[in-house]
Symmetry: C2
Subunit: 488 residues, 2 copies
């Protein structure tokens, strides 16, 4: 009570008076497990005794944080662009200098400190278009259809934002895979759109069944207006790589059902399994002929954060927009202009990814060496992870065909399920929290991505260095065995 | 018509079926005038004949694009962080190296390519807190109250997003100054919040009258729920610097009327006029005593884009949150985690801005020299702009006390107003478009920022290099005279 007898001034902004859609957002990848992991790290550094010497974070696809090295050429060019005095430094290779000069010439006042066009720097968008054409065997790409973004996250949220309208039964519904990357559910919650779940088929290596898409769509049509279908390929958290046939089927489905397609292809270079190849939705769409390529609306997304570069912190990315209504496109351009522009260093990096050293250029050999080494190690670790996890009774793991994660199914004993639910916790959250406290290993519970009722999973990145990954897998194995015994 | 007689498949996403709130967004700073300016540049470069040799863009606060030079020290550190091999290069000063080492040590895997904590890198937030304490004469600042952002734009939109709720008469209203920086109206339109206009007093040098705040608030309360008050100081587009008394009055008003305060202070170092000083809302709030400092909710925003650094392309910024409800703060932290993190190079740059070279360090003298030179030139150009514009009959310009813009009032003859409105154009858009076509000078019409009915303005940055600014001002003068004659 204050002097005049009224209670202290209530806040203007409280949990009860804040934006209700923001409250509905959930984001597991950086949720309570990770917060506890950070606390544990602090406690360890303060000398507190724990049953482990270090916290190993396998919760997020953050390659450099796990020790992956950046591509030398990319960083040389970024340094040259940051401090152009270095263009006079003879230790920098000529191809790095010429890339830097080209980027700087496209910047206002020759400085990365200028705002770029809101859609992104022209020359970078041209280079992206050239990359897409080469990647897709010559299918044409118009730089005007390219929007540079602040990481793929930004592009995905922007596209979803354009799509949302209507109230109640006419509210926009968006189909997303379960398990999903939780950016999608978070963005849909924030936008107040209806999330339509379709389940990937765990028995068939997390593949996508059209019959399941149809089931989910038919059900959703009873209470909302489904307008978009999101695909992640290669998959996060599930690590599958879609076959060409599957992609064709999805495109046919989208055409028949009038759905806007969103293809999240940020892992397009992360394909490891024999017989698996990356097929872009754009390429398949165009090879299916004009009936499809002139009509199906598609947005596809790429990023500097994954693949062999793993440059998450620069927040680079692009989206390509196919068959978008021209008035809507003008609205999109206006919308992105409000935030002024994506970060220019991220745009520069995206440019290097799509326009790396060419045969004959001084940096070519080293670039290929570094890229190959990184991708080979990832392929090895993908295999290792699958193999070791499948030796554990009560853990069953699909092959990690691509991307950077395994998402094994775990058997949790009834007693543990009961203890968790009695405490109001998801059983796999209970499991992962216990693993963190006992081993220092930080994984994300499957419930953060979605899974079929009654099944439990965790997501684990394959990114730790091989020696650490081996320790991690051994500890997971031991923990699982102990946990199973304890609750049996 | 296709073979089977139905019209070609209608698009899923059309202007009629897209998000209606996005359609309502307007953004003048990058609107039709700028698009035409870009076209004109292209036409010139293709050899087309024009009544001018170059397009001079004075439409946007993009310092480097206008030739302002980056601070050497900042760019050295960024180069070192981008390509840490350079730490072995003896030509880089030691203080640059030690800053780079500190930043890299705070990055996962010592790489700017790692995602940071979503709230921003810990050590950067600590440095920001130290800066604020020094700036505010020792008023304490908790690094936990600091959120690093993707430019100030990102922080502003995020805070507005938290505040919006309710329907119809209970819908959140947000008070913004008119003229305003159009990010605010755009964000409010997108969020479906109610924009409450309060007019700055052009007769009194664009100052803020509490009676006008009260008028706007009382009127708004009849149809919405006003919850926040946004202030831009120093002002964009109006260039005024608020007095300490005015800030106190605003804080008292916010306390009495229970409004969440948002203080946009991105121009905090851009103060030129004699007798004007920058007072942060935070400092004034705390000096008003616990009755205010313990209750009034405040978010203040800063950026790497303005002041003497002008590093817009890096998209660095921070916000400080005072007296925010702890549950809401947890929601804010969750919300920002969905986008993963602000760009790390922008965070690094923000760190350098708040922790520049210190006396005794090798880069100190040069840093001070560069900063002072830039700010002095801006002060000169502020004065020059005001002086020249006020020599033109029919143009009347308040002093540019701070920020980077003048926003003069222009007299447009009745005949021109009629011609414009007959063409469905705002009269000042008509004026600026004509100026662009005839002189190559790109300004933004006052209608893009808001102005009292029946008054007309344009916004012009003071950023072009002095010699170009002189030409520009001369051309504006001649154009205005000719235009006035033509339509009289
Ligand atoms: C499937 C998928 N899409 C998008 C993203 C967003 O990445 P960014 O915003 O860093 O480009 C991620 C990040 O992990 C992802 O896994
Ligand atoms: C008043 C004001 N606030 C915020 C911004 C946003 O700047 P940024 O997002 O580049 O930090 C600007 C840019 O001009 C501005 O003038």
């Amino acid at each position: 009570m204050t002097e005049n007898g009224v209670s202290p001034r209530a806040k203007v902004l409280t949990i009860d008076t804040m934006n209700p859609t923001v409250k509905k957002v959930e984001y597991a990848v950086r949720g309570p497990i990770v917060q506890r992991a950070v606390e544990l790290e602090r406690e360890l550094s303060e000398g507190m005794k724990k049953p482990f010497a270090e916290v190993i974070k396998a919760n997020i696809g953050d390659a450099h944080a796990m020790g992956q090295q950046p591509i030398t050429f990319f960083r040389q060019v970024l340094a040259l662009c940051s401090y152009p005095e270095l263009l006079n430094d003879s230790t920098f290779p000529e191809d790095a200098k010429s890339r830097a000069r080209r980027i700087l010439q496209s910047c206002g006042g020759n400085s990365m400190g200028s705002y770029s066009a809101s859609q992104g720097i022209d020359s970078v968008r041209q280079d992206v278009a050239g990359y897409i054409e080469r990647r897709d065997g010559g299918v044409p790409c118009d730089p005007d259809d390219i929007y540079l973004t602040t990481g793929a996250s930004d592009g995905i949220v922007t596209m979803l934002k354009l799509l949302v309208c209507g109230e109640d039964e006419t509210r926009t519904g968006v189909m997303i895979s379960i398990p999903q990357y939780p950016l999608y559910s978070a963005a849909l919650a924030e936008l107040g759109a209806v999330q339509i779940n379709y389940y990937l088929n765990e028995e068939k290596c997390w593949s996508l069944d059209i019959s399941e898409l149809q089931r989910a769509l038919d059900e959703a049509r009873r209470h909302c207006n489904p307008r978009a279908l999101c695909i992640i390929n290669p998959g996060n958290p599930t690590g599958q790589v879609q076959s060409r046939e599957c992609i064709e089927d999805v495109i046919r489905f989208a055409a028949k059902e009038r759905l806007f397609l969103m293809a999240d292809e940020v892992y397009q270079d992360n394909v490891y399994a024999d017989g698996c190849h990356f097929h872009s939705f754009k390429k398949v769409l165009f090879e299916m002929g004009p009936e499809y390529s002139n009509t199906v609306e598609l947005a596809s997304f790429h990023s500097t954060s994954k693949c062999y570069m793993g440059e998450c912190g620069f927040r680079g990315g692009y989206m390509e927009i196919i068959n978008m209504d021209s008035e809507v496109k003008a609205q999109l351009t206006k919308l992105v202009s409000v935030r002024l522009c994506p970060p220019v260093p991220g745009q520069a990096l995206m440019d290097l990814v799509v326009n790396p050293p060419q045969p004959g250029e001084p940096s070519y050999d080293n670039f290929i060496k570094e890229r190959t080494a990184t991708l080979n190690v990832l392929a090895e670790k993908a295999k290792l992870t699958e193999q070791v996890l499948n030796t554990v009774q009560g853990i069953s793991c699909n092959p990690v065909q691509g991307a950077m994660y395994s998402f094994p199914c775990i058997t949790i004993p009834e007693k543990a399920i009961k203890e968790a639910t009695d405490n109001g916790q998801q059983p796999d959250m209970f499991y992962c929290m216990k693993m963190l406290e006992e081993t220092g290993i930080c994984l994300v519970p499957g419930s953060g991505f979605g899974q079929r009722d009654g099944t439990y999973h965790f997501r684990m990145t394959i990114l730790p260095p091989t020696d650490k990954l081996k320790i991690l897998l051994k500890k997971v194995k031991e923990f699982h065995q102990k946990f199973t015994e304890q609750y049996s």
